[in-house]
């Protein structure tokens, strides 16, 4: 009961606040900008053809309604929330009249798949490589590995993906340049193997960057951890090194890494969006890219809203699972 009041409830409140702030910002920021999307759209439509002025007026009215720009700001804000609660994100301009929620739903599984595989691999390998490199910090291989990581870490996802495309898809031709899969979707080995084949480089580009981040954090956590008494005691008691690293040190460094994973989900998601654009991988990133190209604001808006809600919810779930890993929170 205490746990509920001191940990779970505040966390859920925080989640609601994130969603409220994020969605309000998404509503407000475009309206603060000096550019009116309706004028932009009509400008584009009338640029190459002369249209009857009456038609332009009625076009403006329907576009204003379509963008939800009727009435005062407060009225717009109210309608905005009402529409969100019914799951209505409007229709796409690029693929008129397909609903935005439809288009996003088609891309979502790809992104979630790519992201979860990349997060799993990078988290586990980052934590363990970091623990190893922190424990054996005076070994040659650990120092070489650390220098490599320090150089890779600051490089943006986009550049990493570019280099991978350049080397493995364009130069060596080991992997395809674009796409997500080939053949008839189904649970056959043929189809799944193409999924792995097409997904390998996009996932790798994400894994490289995020493993580097985890590694740096894991190593510094390990460095403080191995100075503590219990590790020195275990060493004196001749506990096998493998056991010390895996069961004592790495386990203790995992807790802050779980909390941090919740905080870094947003950055990882951004990385996935960019990777998908570069590899033309059929997830949300590629949907977003096409929407930018077609000036399809409703889709861009929909993806922004979904990513805010999605990231906030995912990090809430991680934090709610945290007491399972950490008895100190459970028994507080």
């Amino acid at each position: 009961m205490n746990l509920l009041r001191t940990y779970i409830l505040p966390r859920i409140l925080q989640w609601a606040l994130v969603i409220f702030v994020g969605i309000s910002a998404t509503f407000l920021i475009p309206r603060l900008s000096p550019i009116n999307p309706v004028d932009e759209m009509i400008g584009r439509m009338t640029a190459f053809a002369s249209i009857d002025p009456h038609a332009v007026v009625s076009m403006r009215e329907s576009a204003t309604a379509l963008f939800g720009l009727e009435g005062t700001l407060l009225e717009q804000y109210g309608r905005f929330w009402a529409r969100l609660f019914t799951g209505d994100l409007g229709v796409s301009f690029g693929n008129f009249p397909r609903p935005v929620s439809d288009i996003i739903a088609a891309g979502l599984p790809w992104t979630i798949g790519l992201l979860s595989v990349a997060i799993l691999i990078s988290w586990v390998s980052g934590v363990f490589l970091g623990a190893l490199a922190g424990y054996f910090h005076d070994r040659r291989w650990a120092q070489v590995l650390e220098r490599f990581v320090v150089v890779v870490y600051p490089i943006p996802y986009l550049i990493i993906a570019f280099v991978l495309i350049f080397v493995f898809a364009w130069w060596l031709k080991w992997f395809p340049l674009v796409g997500g899969s080939r053949g008839q979707p189904g649970l056959t080995w043929d189809y799944i193997s193409t999924l792995l084949y097409f997904g390998f480089l996009p996932a790798l580009s994400l894994v490289i960057g995020s493993t580097a981040f985890r590694f740096i954090m894991a190593k510094s956590l390990t460095t403080t951890e191995i100075a503590s008494d219990y590790v020195q005691y275990a060493e004196l008691a001749a506990v096998p090194k493998r056991k010390i690293i895996l069961f004592y040190v790495a386990r203790n460094t995992m807790l802050p890494q779980v909390t941090d994973l919740a905080l870094s989900l947003g950055a990882l998601f951004e990385g996935a969006l960019i990777t998908e654009v570069l590899f033309a991988y059929p997830g949300l990133g590629f949907v977003l890219y096409n929407a930018i190209y077609n000036a399809d604001y409703n889709i861009i808006m929909g993806i922004t809203l979904l990513s805010i809600a999605g990231i906030a919810t995912a990090s809430l779930l991680i934090d709610l699972l945290y007491p399972i890993f950490d008895p100190r929170v459970r028994l507080r």
Partner: protein, 300 residues
Amino acid sequence: MANDVLRATIRDLFRFSLSFRFGSIILVIVGILLLLSFFSPFESDDRRVVPRNKPPSQEFILGTTGNGQDGFWLLTFAIRNTLMVSGLAVLIGRSIAVMVGMITGYLGGKTDRVISSIVDSIIVIPRLPLLILIAAIMQGEMTVLSLALLLGILDWAHPSKRYRAMILSLREREFTHTAIFSGMNAVKVVVQEHLPFLIPLLLADAVAGFLWAIGMEVTLSVLGLSDLTTPSIGTLIFWGNYHHALLRRRVWILAAPIAASVLMVVGFYLVSLSLSEYLDPRTRLSRLTVGEQIDGGKAG
């Protein structure tokens, strides 16, 4: 006096920190490239001044583009513009962060709780989709200045938490009480007494801001959402892609901006790494003992 301290700090960093040595050398190279842009024989928007699509040679070190621009001089402009955008963004973002950090840290109590929980929410929100949304609406009207402003407005939440923590601890120190009892008002205390303590932290943190801003500049440009007529690292990559540099086997057009971006971020990161290591009291202690041993050795 302050100059001496600075010189001694840089000397220390150079002597003890491998990453500072490499990082500062890289940044000096980037800085030289930036300065060279002022001596370019061509304007940044000159077209067809050299033969088109020539691979790197002695005459054109980085080749030429499809528009007949010299790759090398174009790159110097790109580095200048990218650093200008990110520098401005860092300046704006850190100013907001310092103000928020000071207000929440110094006032404490209810104000602190309310603002802090809003800041915590802002940290979790993914910024790239928001940036794309704004940039897509402003498409065509985006300038170097508005991009910098936009990036700055979105990058203050995380650093403001660090500054808040710093001010919180400073507030409990004796000199703060002395200042308050001697009748100094809150603004003066924070600006005159606390701000100097923030400066080292601010320096290390500004570098981290550069990393983010450079990454976002490149990302938005590659998506075609920045001012595409101004050469920057991102727009060079965008135009390289646009003209299918890879498929036409004109690798140099893309390789130069990519290599430059890697140099820039790695240089900045290495310097920030060494700075934060230097500021860490634990490593400072060990460095002090090492320094004493060296000095002691000399004396003996």
